[in-house]
Each structure stands twice: as structure tokens, then as C-alpha cells.
Symmetry: C2
Subunit: 459 residues, 2 copies
Amino acid sequence: MLDRLIAPDIKAAIDSGDLSQILDFFRAAHAADAAEILAGLAVDDDLAILKLLEPELVADIFSELPDTLQTELAGLLTPAELTGLASDLSPDDRVDLLKTMPEERMAEVMQGLDKPERDEVKALVLWPEGTAGSLMTTEFIALPASLTVTQAMARIRKEAVDKESVYNSYVVDAAGRPLGVVNLRDLILAEPEATLRQIMDDQLPTVAASADDEESTWKLARYDLVDLAVVDEAGVLVGLVTHDDAMDNMEREHTEDMERFMGITGTADDTSYLRTPVWTHFRHRVGWLVVLTVLGLVSGLILEGFEDLLTGLMVLAFYMPMLVATGGNTGSQAATMVVRSLALKELAPRDALRVLWKELRIALLLCLVLGALAFGRVWLFTGAGDLPAGITVVSVGLTITLALVVQVISAGLIGALLPLTVARFGLDPALVASPALATVVDITGLLIYFSIARLVLGL
Amino acid sequence: MLDRLIAPDIKAAIDSGDLSQILDFFRAAHAADAAEILAGLAVDDDLAILKLLEPELVADIFSELPDTLQTELAGLLTPAELTGLASDLSPDDRVDLLKTMPEERMAEVMQGLDKPERDEVKALVLWPEGTAGSLMTTEFIALPASLTVTQAMARIRKEAVDKESVYNSYVVDAAGRPLGVVNLRDLILAEPEATLRQIMDDQLPTVAASADDEESTWKLARYDLVDLAVVDEAGVLVGLVTHDDAMDNMEREHTEDMERFMGITGTADDTSYLRTPVWTHFRHRVGWLVVLTVLGLVSGLILEGFEDLLTGLMVLAFYMPMLVATGGNTGSQAATMVVRSLALKELAPRDALRVLWKELRIALLLCLVLGALAFGRVWLFTGAGDLPAGITVVSVGLTITLALVVQVISAGLIGALLPLTVARFGLDPALVASPALATVVDITGLLIYFSIARLVLGL
């Protein structure tokens, strides 16, 4: 929204060719706000503005830009400029930038970096996207347990200048394995002669670098941490996931969960809805829609199989949309609850029986209400004259009510069981998208409906 | 999951009547883990264990318990115990606890609190649930800008002992309005004689206490903050929203969004799926289901209106489920994208035209694929012999394809427009639940389908 308020002034400055007027704005603004403005301008103008700003400021703003714009801008920089930028970025942002480049370019930039910067990159690129390692920064302060508070403060004063997160210092053993943590408050309040071992908090949650990034976000939130220690296979402290990266990751995961749940594929990058090209939106949506439409055609085949029933008793067709939709809705509700509870680690796949028992009871209560509704509708609004000989209003009402009851119960159970099964195999339960579930329930619903009609009405 | 690993030992200790064996566990465990264990035990056992632990530890664990269990336990404590507990809790947790009590009890506990504690409560209860004020803590360090670094450190040493968040100290003017912020790192690295005014960061995002709590979460994430300054109407600093409370709030908001989107009402408290009673689940789900089932019956009325068409050309019924489901799916996809983009503030209601233009183009691309699919299915699998005289396979194929195209386009536009409209009136766009949308699109879809059939086939 910001860009619409300030962009006109910026455009005026660009038109007049005098960018210096707006540099003060970028120097005073928060990097996130400056990035939002730049994202609303043409790439050429972005480049012109960034070239006038101080390198550290450029790095701050750059790391807040949408991924696609970062890639585009990086492509327009000279190798020397790119190396300068890469070296000003924090290690995790540096790796993210390098990952977007063609290999040749990456090698060129790596060549230009200092040895320690190169080493940081090498330590981070090991971890694939989606792991805690890919989310971490390698800038942290590690101190031996034998230091006194005074010694520790001296070390922190020396090291803190260019570290991303300095609220916490980690106490490690000789091999670099974390023993505990001290925060700056503890240090300031402690006796100067106390050792870190005496004052550290040894309840230190850690996460494996190879663990899922959601694991790290979950631990940060559960234990109310500012940063979370990341360890390698040997238990050595290799980095930190900071609270701000965890929060961004949480938002990204939420977006992906919701999109997957609606059958939208692709990873949620940070390009906004309006800036994502129509073609990309199309590609992310078309896959599941085609699958579901084909499955929808299966419903048609089922109807064809029951053509005689339908022609004999057209009133059955009138209740079909309600029956199918109610199944889809109850199934989606159950699936939503289970998917979300799995994400919050309130449930595990082995809880399947307890979940099914709970959903069964919920479905039975829902059946009481919805069944009465359906029966009442048939009873009140169906004229006996519309029905063929031998079929009574009550028997039609019973058919539809019974079908609805079986449909609601089976949809609730399927809705709960599908995500649990998918999770059992280590996949994302949100993959059992709500539309996919609704389509499955469409098909089972039609089979239930017409089978019950055949049985009850004897057609 | 933790409770299943450790609970047996605890149960054994309870059975043997010797709780002292397990106290060490609760003393060593993180409060969040201890709370998870307690939530898995009987309330009486919880009470017995908590009474054996140190008061500060009890407060830490208590604040991590699910809301419903907190209320239950509070009901079992004597007024004196309750006052002790309330006074050990941090101000925001204290207020949350007080809010759950009957008024009489609350007055009794308030009576027992110290004057400053009572004042904190009074300052916090002003802000209703859902505001930034209700999320904040009143424990923060405020310093005048004229202090030197040495003076500031002395003040912080004195005040920090019992403050919830001490990473940042806020620099305020004489009226208490925030001027900037200094974190402990800045203080440690600064010249001892520098004043706070010289070293503070004056780019200080703030949030109004009366603002929506999502606003505070969003600012914390956007500006990568550890805590966010909350100001009252006069611009005076009254509290902080801390990163951990913001993260919890983010998770809660996301659960609510997903549930609302699936037509599940009620607020997401922190009681887990399995511990929520069946009756509560039922109440949260039944409302929308009844509304949707009634709307589903409207679909039946539409079908009744087109009974002659259906009896004349039964093949139309076979494509009905596919047509209706595809509309629901495309509509839900569009709605999901728009709801999520609104939540991330990438979109505002006034962007409606740009969104519609984008969705129109996406829908047209989708129509190319899905329309070809539908036409191919009719063309390949419909025998001319099944059709009445005067109706050709091609004309049926055209009818169904045209209906699908109109359905996909209208569903996409309705899916995008509904949440934007709801947001325009200041309501939560997730209220236009996916099932609600699907039901609306069911009804428009049937109208579109049979109107087009009547037109094209001249029946």
C-alpha cells in the first residue's frame, strides 16, 4: 500500500532525471519499506537508485526485495558489483542470492569473495531448501564455558559488531557442541567473576540442520526463543535460525498450506499476487483442475449406470446436488481440522483410531440435524402425485435421509483418514486437497445414493 | 507426543503416591514441555504436582497450559493461592487468567494484589480481545534520551531483573512518547559517555493499542523486530508486543483462517483437537452445514424447474456433477489466492478491478484446457443413438463445453470478488468460506448449464 502513497514523488524525481532528491527518503526509510517502493518501480529505475546508495544500505534493501526481482537485478549487475553486494549481505541471504545465478556466474562471484565468506557459503549451500540448515545464519557467538563474565563481555564487544544476532551467546565445549546459552541480560546482571558455566541456561533446545524447516519454526514458537541453535550430525553448533526468519518462514508455510489445500501447486515465493504473471497462476492451478475434472467425468459414468433409476424417478435427481455438496462440506471440515492439528503436532498418524472415533460421533450428531432437514424438505414439498405408483413420499424421504446419513458419516471419516494416511507416508497432508477430497466424496456419494435408492425403493 | 513418552513414569509415581520422585523432572523440564505433560494428566494430579513446585516455576508452567485447563485449575485454587499465582504471572498472562474468573472471584483476587500489579491489570483489561493491546505486556524499560550509556546501563541493571523483555530499551520523551530504541548490543558497543539520543535507532515502528492484533503481528514480521512498541491514543508508550506472543498469535490466526475458510466457526483456543469435546466440535461445524444444506436444496428447486429438459435429454444429467464441481474448484482456487493476498496486505479491496482482470485471463486459459477435455469426452463417448431426433453429438458437446466455459469464468470472478467485497465492509474475507462459495457456484452453475442447453439445443 505504501508504494501507492510515495511512488508518485519518486516517479516525478525519475522523470525529472534528478534522483538525488529521493535518496534521502531511501536513507531514512526502513529497508522493508524501501524494498516495497522499489518493487513498484521499473527495474531500470531500481538499478539507478540502488547505484546511488551506500553499499551496506543496498544490501539491507536488497535482502528485503521479492526473490524474482532480486534475480532480475542480479542479472543486470557487473560481476564486480555482484561480488561487492554478495559480500555485504548476511551469509544466509548471500547463499540465497548465489543459488539464483547460473553456475558460471556463481563461480565468478565466489572467486571474488574473501576466504571466510566463501567458507560460510560452502557451509550453507550443503543444506537443501526446506531444511532448518537452509534457513539458518552462520553468524553467531560461541564461547567456552570457562570464561568469566568479564572475559565474555570483552569477547562479545569484539565479535558483536558484524553479527546478525547477538541477543544470545552460545556456550560450547571444545568440539563446538552447545552446552548452554547466556543472553546479554544475564551477562549484565551477573557477578563479573562468575563463569559462563555457572550462569548459563543449560535447557537448550536445538534442531538438526537436516531437519524440516517447519521443525525449527515450531521449536522457536514452542520455547519462545529469539534464536534456535542448529547442530550438524556430530552435534556441533553450525548456525542459528533467528526469530525473524522463522516468522517469515511461518507465513510462507501458511500460504503454501492453504494453496495446496485448494489444489494450487508451486512454491509460494514472495512475489505478490498482482505481480505474478497470469501464465504462472495458470500453471499452478491447471494440474489439479484437470485431474478433478476427469474425476468429475467419472461421476457422470456412475450416473449413466443408474440411468434407469433416474428416468424412473426424476425426483432423485433433485436431491443429488444437496447430497453431494453436504458430503463435500462435512469431509472438508474434518480434513481441515486434521490437517491443522497435524501441522501443530497435536496429532500423529498413529492417532488414527482415536480421530475416527471422534469424527464418527461428530458425524452422528450432524446427521441428526441434517437428516431431519432433508426429510422435512421431502415430506413438505413432494406431492404424492409426482411419484410413480408404488412409491410413497415417506419411502422417498427415507431414501434421501438414509443416503444423507451414510454420506455424512463416510465423508467425515474419509476426510479425517485421508490426511492421516498421507502423513503416515511422510507426505504433506495438505496434499489431500479439499477439492480432491470433495471429488472423491462426490463419487462415493453418488454410489451410496443410488445403491440405497435401489435397495429401499426396490427399483 | 512428549506426554506419551514420559507419562507412564509420572502415572507410576502418582499411583505409588510418592510425587517427590517426579518433581525433579518438572524442575528440569522446559515449562512448555512440563505443561504438555500436565495437560495429559487428570486435573487432580495436576493440582497435586503444582502444589509441590516452587511458585515461580508454577507460574511459568501455568502460563503454558491450555486455556481451558487454566480455567479449570483456577477454579480449584483457594483465593489466597490464586492471588499468589496471579502475582507471579507476567502482566499479560495475569490479565488472561483474571478474565476467565467469575466477577466476584476476580474482585477478591484483585484485592490481594499489590497496587502496581493492580494498576498493570487495569491498564491491560481496557483492551478487548483481538486488539494489539490485549496481546501486549506492560513490562518494558523506558529511558530518557539525555541519559549516557553508563547511566542507562545502571538503570537497566536495576530494572531488568523482573522484566519480560529486556533486549530493547525504549527512549521516551517527558510525556512518555517513544523517540527511539536501543538494544543491549548497541549499549555494550557504544562509548560510555554517549547519550541515548546519539546512539538510539529513531526508525521506530509502533502500533496503536486499539489496532487489530494482526496488525502488530504483521509489523513485527515485516520489520524483523524482537518486540514492537504499543502506544495509546496520545502516542504514549504503554506496552510491547513480544516476538513469542506474536508467533503464537500468528499460529492461532492461521488456524482460525483455515477453519473459517471451511465453514468452521468459533475461536481457536489452544485446546488440542483430541481434547476438544465432540459437542464443541459439533457446535462449531453445524451452523454453516445447515445453511449450506438448505442452499443445496435450492439447487434441487432449480433442477425441478428444468425437469422437462432433463427427462428429454438424460445425457445432460451425466455432465452435471463435473460442471458443478469444476466451478466449485476454480472458484475456491481464486478465493484462496485473494484471501491469502489480503491477509498478507498484498491486496486491498480497491484493487478489485485489477484482480478481476487477472482472474478473467487465468480463467480463459483454464477454459482452453478444461473445455477441450469436456468436448473430447462428449465427442468420443456419446453414441448418436442415445440422443433424441434432431440433437447431434456435436451440439451436445458444444452445449456442455460452452456451459463449462461460462461456469469456469463466472466461478473464478465470483471467487475473487466475494472476499474482496467482504473485506470492503471491514469483515474477515475468510468468512466467504470455501464451501459457501462452492454452494453459490453450484447454484449459478446449474442455472448457466440449463439455460445454455435450452438456448443451444432449442429444447
